[in-house]
Symmetry: C2
């Protein structure tokens, strides 16, 4: 089974605290390491939690508020000190040039690898990366500036052919590939054997969705329906619902409502406001709506 | 007596480790808070060690390598979130514009305070700040790029006039200010009373010098002679002397030689290479030359 592991590096928000680092997480999927957001201190968190920098495949930046990007110069600089040669793709909104271009000019010939900036589409769903086993896409969230959520998914694995059926129908080896991918089998006598009678479904594909930062936005539900794990920001408790609305953030209860509407398997909340130093209330408010809720915290790992 | 306190926020070097943060320290002097260097995560270290962000007076950047500056955007952004209104002076080499200007454009009208960049002179000693009780100056170090050290000093306090002598010579009140600052006293009868017979010296002024990053450079000795505390980089142990020379860094023994030549009272070494996870050897090599040596570490406080 594929490894599909999310590690929280930072679950705080704009104002740093001693309890939580600015936003960042790592998605390990099919032996590739992806990063979502890169707040200040992200590379230090990678060291702390023993993430392998050399495995980093690409970086996805949800939006260009400082707490989601100020760790980039340090991370890129360290990757260069480590002698990385592979290109690094950074998926972000186009204004990221303000941060990256001066940095590249500054680093100049000291950079050991190339950075490719791929602009996110803030208007609609878009496929960002795909190989034979995984798929990563983005979709619009609702924040003060252009912001995107991300969906990481395994591709549906091929069906398994039933061993006994190969013998029983005398299925030739060269047809097995197509049958695993849904083809029916026609016997030499012309009898059609339906695919579902000779196969069992493959491992169900797992899906992870990241939604931060965002106001309460039921319009995102179609993008994240039925995911195995949803990370949704919950900056505020319900007492601060007005503040959440004004700042285009969500309350814990709103995060849980989205999880419920989208019928996800599990919800993780984070992006806590610096006003809280205790998070039981946020968990309680979310769990009342959606019991399968867990609090994010630095170093916590979620395996799908 | 004036408070003169140095707090180490980071004593590592370019490559972050789990043991040491990138360079930064706070100098609390006469109720003002100054920062030297601002590596990634500095604002998080300030939180951790309960430094009062609102007290920050100005920032001194020794040179523009990433590990000394990548914490600036986050720090400036947080000061703005906290509603700072006082100007912030940043003393740095002129190329810092590459980092600050795009940041200011990005922050735009969200910045609540003004940043003044004051260019350091990489060629010779220069006074940077002075008020009635303290003085801050910079002087050139020897590194791969333009780099300056900093000297923080209390001004020599006025002498104390001897109470009994006021009565004995019948010294009028309006002359006391000048006598405390070195004037002799002439009696109404024309007799000249030498200053040293009617005063005792004031509290001796304390001095702190910061020298990082730098190769072994005896030419800096005149700038730091007799300081009470010298922070001098000691990136490498003696086995790496060649590497130190190539990269314009110092070994612990070289740092101690400088301390000895300058006849300082105490030496603190830091800016450790990420190759070390144990620092006893560096301390040993320095102490053999200069016994009054101490290792820097995050959160350590030196009171002068």
């Amino acid at each position: 089974m594929t490894k599909f592991r999310i590690t929280i590096l930072g679950s705080g928000s704009a104002m740093p605290t001693t309890l939580h680092n600015p936003p960042s997480q790592l998605i390990e999927l099919n032996d590739k390491l992806f990063m979502i957001d890169c707040g200040e201190g992200t590379q230090l968190q990678m060291r702390k939690f023993k993430a392998r920098m050399s495995k980093l495949h690409s970086v996805f930046i949800s939006h260009l508020h400082g707490d989601h990007i100020f760790g980039l110069p340090g991370l890129l600089s360290t990757l260069s000190l480590l002698g990385r040669t592979a290109d690094l793709n950074i998926y972000a909104h186009k204004e990221i040039d303000f941060l990256i271009k001066p940095f590249l000019v500054y680093m100049g010939k000291h950079m050991t690898f190339k950075i490719n900036i791929i602009n996110l589409n803030p208007e609609s769903e878009e496929l960002l990366f795909e190989n034979q086993s995984i798929k990563i896409s983005s979709f619009p969230l609702k924040h003060r500036i252009e912001t995107n959520g991300f969906l990481f998914e395994e591709k549906k694995s091929a069906s398994h052919i039933i061993r006994e059926m190969i013998d029983y129908h005398n299925i030739p080896f060269h047809l097995i590939y197509d049958i695993k991918r849904g083809a029916d089998f026609t016997t030499p006598e012309g009898e059609e054997i339906k695919n579902e009678t000779i196969t069992v479904p493959g491992t169900p594909s797992k899906r992870y969705a990241y939604c931060s930062d965002t106001a309460y936005a039921p319009e995102i539900v179609p993008y994240i329906r039925n995911v195995d794990l949803l990370y949704h920001e919950a900056t505020f408790a319900e007492t601060e619902a007005k503040r959440a609305e004004e700042t285009y953030h969500s309350t814990a209860r709103q995060a849980a409502s989205i999880a419920k509407m989208a019928e996800v398997k599990k919800l993780v909340i984070g992006h806590y406001s610096s006003r809280y130093n205790e998070f039981g209330l946020l968990l309680k408010e979310a769990s009342e709506i959606f019991p399968e809720t867990e609090l994010a915290s630095e170093g916590k790992v979620f395996e799908l």
